[in-house]
């Protein structure tokens, strides 16, 4: 046997593949047994296809297939005589290479003296029959963990060296399979001594090691025909195509570790029952405990290694308590270890995509679904573009007509617009529209409200184009493109306290956010709005501020200067909360205002304990096309119009507030 190397080396291919007649499979099994090996292979037991000791072909699950889904496993009759027409069952090969109970040391205590005697290693000579590509990968993963140093598990190393591996190519897949995403299958490529591909009349046989080649020489084989070789390859290729790519793995490590605070962990914790089935069924999970069994006198004790699970209550316990006492911590530990930190520790993924944890989870938690929800493959900015915008191309505009205007302040007007295009009323909070009044350059304007069949724009007259927009009257028409750009990620705030800090016209893009919060107020914790304006006369949406208060939003206003009639706070907006008593560590912050104000705000929020990954700002840059093609709004690696305008501070890092970027 060649110890499986986790690195996928070139396939050993001494000669072309050979063909073994169906009736001659027993000859292979007999050879393996003649070599003094106990055969472990698939067999039917209690309604499942499990791995167990077998003696002959008659023990194999002839004509049986398995149907699998989240929390579901059933077998059914295939109506043929295929021996390997199933996928994988609840057992994995670690049952023999890494048993759940291994006696380690016999310890004695005689008066003052203690003694320790290691249990002699006596690994059985085994042959595994029917090892799938994902399982070969799993053996490789455990080889890396337990034998690649700096320390070696002697029991595992001895058992593993005594195993001969007969792999089987997958000719069918379960709905739970995702080896293709994890890069482990379905093709058997390395780590095997022999590989079989089951065809109608028999098996294509290939050797993967010198030990495998030695066996081939003793078998009644004939060279495989081209049709047989093609048929075998086509079958496995069809399996690959059928599985697809359920968990895009590119960047998964970083994506997942960036989501340690995802509210999804809490949501999963409400379903997870901490049974640990996933870790028991997993072919790579290797965590163990040492147990002691003493005789009645307490003078001799047998120390044994048993499987443990990071889901078990005592797993992270110390004298002062458990480091992972909550359900969400334990699920997060398991998932982030498998798919992220395993890479840091062992240079590869801890998951091989076999799907056992999906099938054998009694509540049907599907890691693929959770990974895609927690750490989606698309960047968050693109993720939040909720609807296909109307007229994305800069050459086209959707016509909208003014149905109402409202003077908010001396220089700021809210236009209510109606349009036939459904996308305009259905964007996300924080998105903007490109607004075109013929004769003026198109302007990016934040959408300040979504309405059925329309939207509102709040525009401050700061230049010729905005002043012209501010003079529009009912029935006037304008051209719109949008909604464009990213939204405030309100889903990250579910179950959390929110703080919203804004100044001046910056309240406009936050207004749809506040309206969305009010629409589902119970989903969020305390919501605090800190709003600063130049003077009391410059406060926007004054009537609505009162309504927001009555929807349990704490609204605190401040102005930069005021006459004696103003009895509220005067000062910069950060004065409203830099000495507040709340603790920001669990909060989400949404910030919009002039960049210099946002810098001061972000640094105050950070000082109150809100992590950078949960402080969101919206940036303003010169935008002309609104879709990332004209290049004007570039800031470092981002186009503000396409990747933003909403960004987390973790995304922006130190380019935020840096001069001249």
């Amino acid at each position: 046997m060649v110890m499986a190397s986790p690195a996928r080396g070139p396939r050993a291919r001494p000669e072309g593949p050979a063909f073994l007649g169906r009736a001659d499979l027993q000859a292979l099994l007999d050879l393996l047994r003649e070599d003094g090996r106990t055969l472990i292979g698939p067999t039917l037991d209690a309604g499942a296809i499990v791995y167990d000791e077998i003696t002959g072909v008659e023990d194999l699950p002839r004509g049986w297939a398995d149907e699998q889904g989240p929390g579901r496993y059933r077998i059914h009759d295939r109506q043929d005589d295929r021996l390997f027409g199933y996928v994988v069952g609840p057992t994995s090969w670690k049952k023999w290479t890494f048993p759940s109970l291994v006696p380690l040391t016999s310890a004695t205590r005689d008066g003052h003296k203690v003694g320790f005697e290691p249990v002699p290693l006596d690994p059985p000579r085994l042959a595994f029959l029917g090892v799938r590509a994902c399982e070969l990968a799993a053996l490789g993963v455990q080889d890396r963990v337990l034998t690649a140093g700096p320390f070696v598990d002697p029991d595992y190393a001895a058992r593993r060296a005594n195993v001969l591996v007969v792999a089987v190519q997958c000719t069918t897949a379960a709905t739970t399979c995702f080896c293709t995403s994890m890069g482990t299958g379905p093709e058997v490529e390395s780590g095997h001594d022999l590989a079989l591909t089951e065809l109608d009349g028999g098996f294509l046989v290939d050797a993967g090691s010198p030990a495998g080649r030695a066996i081939l020489e003793r078998l009644p084989l004939r060279p495989a025909t081209a049709v047989e070789q093609y048929g075998a390859a086509a079958t496995v290729a069809a399996v690959r195509a059928g599985i697809g790519d359920p968990v895009p793995a590119a960047g998964l490590h970083d994506r997942l570790l960036a989501q340690l605070d995802s509210p999804r962990w809490l949501e999963i914790a409400e379903r997870c029952i901490l049974c640990g089935n996933c870790t028991l069924a997993c072919p790579t999970c290797f965590c163990t405990s040492t147990t002691q069994a003493t005789d009645l006198s307490g003078t001799t004790a047998m120390m044994s290694r048993t499987w443990d699970s990071c889901f078990s209550p005592g797993f992270a316990k110390v004298a002062g308590g458990s480091f992972r006492s909550r359900h969400r911590d334990r699920y997060r530990q398991w998932l982030t270890h498998k798919f992220a930190t395993w890479w840091d520790q062992f240079g590869e993924s801890g998951c091989t995509g076999c799907g056992r944890c999906v099938t054998w989870c009694p509540v049907g938690i599907d890691v693929r679904e959770e990974l895609n929800a927690i750490a989606p493959a698309r960047p968050p900015a693109a993720e939040t573009a909720l609807v296909e915008p109307a007229a994305p191309s800069p050459t086209e505009f959707v016509t909208a007509h003014v149905t109402g205007t409202k003077a908010e302040t001396g220089d700021t007007v809210t236009l209510t617009l109606e349009s036939d295009h459904p996308a305009l009323g259905r964007g996300g909070p924080g998105q903007f529209a490109m607004v075109e009044l013929p004769g003026f350059p198109p302007l990016p304007i934040s959408i300040s409200r979504y309405l059925p069949g329309g939207l509102e724009l709040t525009i401050r007259g700061a230049g010729a184009a905005t002043r012209a927009l501010g003079k529009l009257q009912a029935k006037d028409e304008i051209g719109l493109r949008g909604p464009l750009g990213s939204s405030w990620p309100l889903d990250r705030a579910i179950g959390r306290d929110l703080v919203i800090v804004t100044g001046g016209i910056g309240l406009a893009p936050l207004r749809p956010l506040i309206q969305a919060i009010i629409a589902e107020r119970r989903r969020y914790g305390d919501v605090r709005l800190y709003y600063g304006a130049r003077t009391p006369a410059d406060l926007l949406y004054r009537g609505e501020l009162e309504r927001w208060k009555s929807a349990s939003i704490e609204v605190a206003l401040t102005v930069d200067r005021a006459g004696p009639e103003w009895l509220g706070p005067v000062g910069v907006v950060t004065n409203l909360f830099d000495q507040a008593t709340w603790d920001g560590s669990g909060m989400v912050a949404f910030v919009c205002g002039p960049e210099r104000m946002m810098q001061a705000t972000v640094s105050t929020l950070a000082g109150r304990g809100i992590p950078a990954s949960r402080i969101y700002v919206t940036l303003e840059r010169h935008m002309e096309c609104g879709i990332g093609l004209c290049g004007h709004c570039q800031m470092g690696k981002y186009f503000i119009c396409r990747d933003g305008p909403v960004f987390s501070m973790a995304q922006l890092g130190d380019i935020f507030g840096r001069e001249g970027i």
């Binding site: 700061a462 950060t574 002039p594 001061a600």
Partner: protein
């Protein structure tokens, strides 16, 4: 004689005075008295000698400055926890703005003569208090700079 324990408790509720050594708190409480101002009541007058240094416990004090032809402009409000009248302990001991209560306001105050003498002669008190006065003044300076930027003013967009 005020109830010193309640003065200590009030001081402790403010960021300005919380966490001081118990001896310093006691010393401060000996110098302090409670103060109540009704809306409209003037506590300090811009340009006049400052005779009151205090910490707002409840209410709101507006700091105003007189601008010719524009009248009195509120440039800052003092909220609970913050200090007013720092010019009482910093030469030349003249108020930099007019302080007017705009809500019913409770404060803990220190008379000029007593607090100045204490800070001059009691090194422990001075060492404990001056960094906090510095913090209050620097916080106000930073905020004033931001206000000076007039960030929310409508800005003429470039011609594009």
């Amino acid at each position: 004689m005020q109830d010193q324990a309640s003065i200590v408790a009030s001081l402790n509720s403010t960021w300005f005075a919380s966490g001081l050594e118990p001896e310093t708190q006691t010393r401060l409480a000996e110098l302090a008295r409670t103060y109540h101002a009704e809306p409209g009541q003037e506590l300090l007058r811009e340009g006049d000698p400052s005779d009151l240094f205090g910490v707002v416990i409840r209410g709101r004090i507006a700091l105003r400055t007189l601008v010719p032809e524009r009248g009195e402009i509120t440039i800052l409000t003092i909220e609970p926890g913050d200090v007013f009248g720092w010019s009482t302990v910093v030469p030349p001991y003249r108020s930099t703005s007019t302080a007017v209560a705009i809500e019913p306001t409770d404060a803990i105050v220190f008379e000029a003569a007593g607090i100045r003498a204490a800070l001059r002669t009691d090194c422990r008190l001075a060492v404990a208090l001056y960094p906090r006065i510095m913090l209050a003044v620097s916080r106000r300076l930073n905020a004033t700079r931001h206000q000076l930027l007039d960030l929310f003013a409508a800005e003429e967009v470039r011609s594009w």
